[in-house]
């Protein structure tokens, strides 16, 4: 039933593989897709992944640096797969513990892992257990619990009469078959015991209750508690102490009580020095703290939890080195994953791509999209300044036909840029030109005409400015998708501000969704890059960068750090992660 099963090391060497009967395609492609989409993009929270017609499930073994992957057809729903992977992992580890413990790749290469018969046996067992658990036949009415109750008992009354009735009815049923009889008898016994204990208390007559003052949990009883004049210096210290304690807790957990004696002493030393493997419980408090820290730094809430989940999966079972605490290991792993997320997954070199388009005698088209007020027009002007400085000629297409003053704004930028780089110095032709058709017209049409004009006049770059729109506004999203699908720009940049918090997730998801839904082709153009603006207004709460790159998987191409033409930067992943992890 399985298509394939592979066991390979994290360094890439396949130790053992199994291909199901009748399966001819190689599984290298799907497994590579799994690695690249899930493990490398830190989406390791849930362990399943679908790739075309196959459904893949995987499990990481962090102690020996192995990955176990199983693949089967998506349409089958095999219930035994999770438990099966765990069993296979345990058996493989037990059998080849000696070879796997050696550090270095030589041992892995020189050994052939003959796991075939063991695997087949496990597979047979797993399939048999799934077949044995045949679907449970429906209970008849007499067997169900509802028939046990009397009608009277189901009416709610004040006082404890209900349990008495139920117990009585339950006692009557003696004809049962199968295992349920034993269960039922056990339940009966429990009920009888309960009834006898309640019967010992005499039922009190219900007192007529007068009106009682409602007591709120957070409300105090007197205003004396609100007087903090004596405690002014103490609360801050208390908080710091609590933080220190939280940090030291993971270390102190291997410390047993002092009355443990020598055995306890050795255990403590072993926990600090020797090889201790990480478990979920050890990591939980540190991960909680890390998650809150990330949220405090403006990373979206569900992305923080997904990241922490993925880091936990990566570290589970890993053997810590000597004198390293749980907190430092987790922090280091989180830092590495954050740097990994921020590193671009493809080459980001706009100037080189523009040169390529120049050699092919066509203009390089960049489209800017985003919600209202994030800085699209400002950053468009900054990018055109940068391109002009490097000797390219730019055509700005004013496809924002809705906002009042949008066209005039771009015209002002054009005039300023032309005065900075006068046409006399650049071969008599103005380096920046504006293509506009006024207000109220169709944006996609203007964009198409602008690109055709640029091709005729041999402009190097076309920058298309679109109107800001909310991600929930369906007609406007359709219009944007149409503009992008019809004109096929070389680069679709999403402009997002660094101040945004959880909204970033919603914006990006809905933008991508709209672009995918309204495109005719089977390879829709999605967002290719992100421009992060207003970066100077956030201090070190740089979490928006992480949220945006995590959601789309696309790199941050530009960072806007101010309102003048020079305030355009590129992203330095390490600096951002440093600011993010700083306490």
């Amino acid at each position: 039933m399985l298509d394939f099963f592979t066991i390979f090391s994290k360094g890439g060497i396949v130790l053992w593989c199994f291909q199901g009967a009748g399966v001819s395609e190689s599984f290298t492609g799907p497994v590579n897709a799994l690695i690249r989409s899930v493990i490398l993009q830190e989406r390791g929270g849930n362990n399943s992944f679908t790739h075309e017609a196959l459904s893949l499930k995987y499990k990481l073994d962090n102690e020996f640096e192995l990955i176990f992957v199983v693949g089967f057809q998506k349409i089958l729903t095999l219930t035994y797969v999770d438990k099966f992977i765990d069993d296979v992992q345990l058996h493989f580890r037990d059998r080849y513990k000696n070879e796997l413990e050696q550090k270095g790749a030589l041992k892995l290469l020189n050994n052939t892992f003959d796991f075939e018969d063991r695997f087949k046996k496990l597979l047979r067992e797993a399939e048999e257990t799934s077949k044995a658990r045949s679907p449970v036949p429906m209970r008849s009415f007499k067997e169900s619990e509802k028939s046990q109750k009397t009608v009277k008992s189901m009416i709610e009354t004040k006082g404890g009469d209900k349990s008495k009735e139920q117990g009585g009815k339950k006692n009557k049923n003696t004809k049962k078959e199968g295992k349920r009889r034993g269960c039922l008898y056990f339940n009966c016994i429990l009920f009888i015991m309960m009834i006898f204990t309640t019967r010992s208390k005499s039922p009190k007559p219900p007192k007529p209750k007068g009106k009682v003052n409602r007591v709120w949990d957070n409300g105090g009883s007197s205003t004396k508690n609100l007087d903090y004049s004596n405690k002014n210096g103490e609360t801050s210290l208390g908080e710091d102490q609590k933080n220190l304690e939280a940090q030291f807790d993971p270390v102190s957990s291997p410390w047993p009580e002092p009355s443990g004696g020598f055995g306890g002493m050795f255990g403590m030393l072993k926990g600090l020095v020797g090889s201790k493997s990480l478990s979920r419980e050890d990591m939980e408090p540190v991960l909680e703290k890390m998650r809150d820290h990330l949220i405090a730094k403006n990373v979206a809430a569900d992305i923080s939890s997904q990241l922490c989940e993925s880091v936990a999966k990566k570290l589970e079972g890993k053997v810590m080195g000597t004198f390293t605490t749980v907190a430092s290991t987790v922090k280091q792993a989180l830092q590495d994953s954050l740097v990994q997320i921020l590193q671009p997954k493809r080459r980001v070199d706009i100037l080189r791509d523009v040169m390529e388009a120049q050699s092919q005698r066509r203009p390089f088209v960049i489209t800017f999209c985003g919600v209202n007020g994030v800085g699209k027009s400002t950053n468009l002007a900054k990018i055109s300044y940068w391109l002009i400085e490097n000797g390219f000629s730019v055509l700005i297409a004013a496809c924002d036909t809705f906002r009042a003053g949008a066209v005039e704004q771009l015209r002002t930028h054009q005039r300023r840029l032309n005065s900075l780089h006068p046409p006399e110095k650049h071969g008599g032709r103005p380096v920046v030109q504006l293509y506009e058709k006024g207000y109220g017209k169709d944006a996609a049409g203007i964009a198409m005409e602008a690109i055709a004009y640029a091709r005729n006049q041999a402009f190097d770059v076309v920058l298309v400015d679109t109107a800001g729109r909310m991600q929930d506004n369906a007609p406007l999203m359709t219009a944007l998708a149409k503009l992008i699908a019809v004109n096929m720009p070389d680069l679709v940049l999403f402009v997002g501000e660094a101040l945004v918090g959880n909204e970033a997730v919603d914006q990006l998801v809905k933008f991508n969704q709209a672009l995918a839904d309204h495109s005719m082709s089977d390879k829709p153009r999605l967002i290719d890059g992100i421009v992060l603006t207003k970066f100077d207004t956030i201090d070190d709460k740089v979490g928006a960068a992480i949220s945006m790159t995590y959601i789309t998987g696309q790199p941050i191409v530009f960072v806007g750090t101010g309102q003048t033409y020079n305030d355009l930067r590129s992203l330095n992943a390490r600096a951002v992660v440093g600011a993010l992890m700083k306490a």
Partner: protein, 258 residues
């Protein structure tokens, strides 16, 4: 007989020493000896340079680094997947001197590349840059960008390890030759010098590698670099596929010459 001016002091010192407990004396002498030995050790360790004995296998994703790693070490064929961590093993070069290098296979995926390079670049004696010759035409710009990043790294520029550019997958019919790949890379790096120096600085003010490749004013050539560069052809899979040997003699010979 002239009186030694320090005699009274020596006398008083001797008296004081004799008054002391001998155990304390022994303790003081041992402590002094430990301090002296520690100073000697520190001096020895601080002045010795880090021994560079690593051969790094780098390249783009799917270029065949892990299979090359396996072939060099054991000569066998094994299936491979995308690596997500590095693998290292000692490698005995096939020469008379019998030197052993540490062969390190780094992952080629874009998000992991720079992290692992940071870790291992200072210990590199030679860098083996693996290129997929079959799909080189489509990937020229990515290969050149990685090579540019490698060559302009300040640490790599300072150490100047030997660069062996291995054109892998020569068993495929459409594979380009090493000479062609060299010419294309030189042209591409020439352009990249200009675009990269015009790239934006990072948001915290730091500028990228300030090393300028080659000589200003002249077209870029690999001979202008301070390190030795060699272009080789090889095929990790070999012409016979899984059963035969890989065709890696040229690489082994170059590694032996290190």
């Amino acid at each position: 007989m002239t009186k030694n001016p320090w005699e009274p002091y020596i006398e008083s010192l001797r008296q004081q020493l004799e008054e002391q407990d001998p155990v304390v004396l022994v303790g003081v002498i041992v402590a002094l000896a430990v301090v002296v030995i520690t100073c000697v050790f520190l001096k020895y360790f601080l002045t010795s340079k880090t021994v560079r004995s690593a051969v790094l296998l780098v390249g783009l994703c799917d270029s065949g680094k892990t299979l090359l790693f396996i072939r060099l070490l054991s000569g066998k064929f094994k299936r491979t997947q995308t690596s997500i961590t590095d693998s290292s093993a000692p490698y005995k070069a096939k020469n008379d001197r019998n030197c052993t290098w540490t062969l390190i296979d780094l992952p080629g995926h874009d998000s992991l590349r720079s992290q692992y390079l940071e870790k291992f670049k200072s210990a590199a004696k030679a860098i083996v840059f693996v290129v997929d010759s079959a799909i080189f035409q489509k990937e020229v710009r990515d290969v050149a960008e990685f090579l540019y990043m490698l060559l302009t790294d300040p640490v790599v520029y300072r150490i100047a390890p030997t660069l062996l550019v291995v054109c892998n997958k020569q068993d495929v019919a459409m594979a380009k030759s090493a000479k062609l790949i060299q010419q294309q890379l030189e042209k591409e790096l020439n352009t990249l010098r200009v675009t990269r120096s015009a790239a934006l600085s990072a948001q915290d003010g730091s500028v990228g590698g300030s090393v300028y490749l080659g000589k200003k004013g002249k077209d870029f050539e690999f001979s202008q670099l301070p390190m030795k560069v060699e272009f080789l052809e090889c095929s990790a899979r070999g012409s016979k596929g899984k059963d035969g040997d890989g065709d890696i003699e040229s690489l082994e010979k170059s590694l032996a010459k290190l």
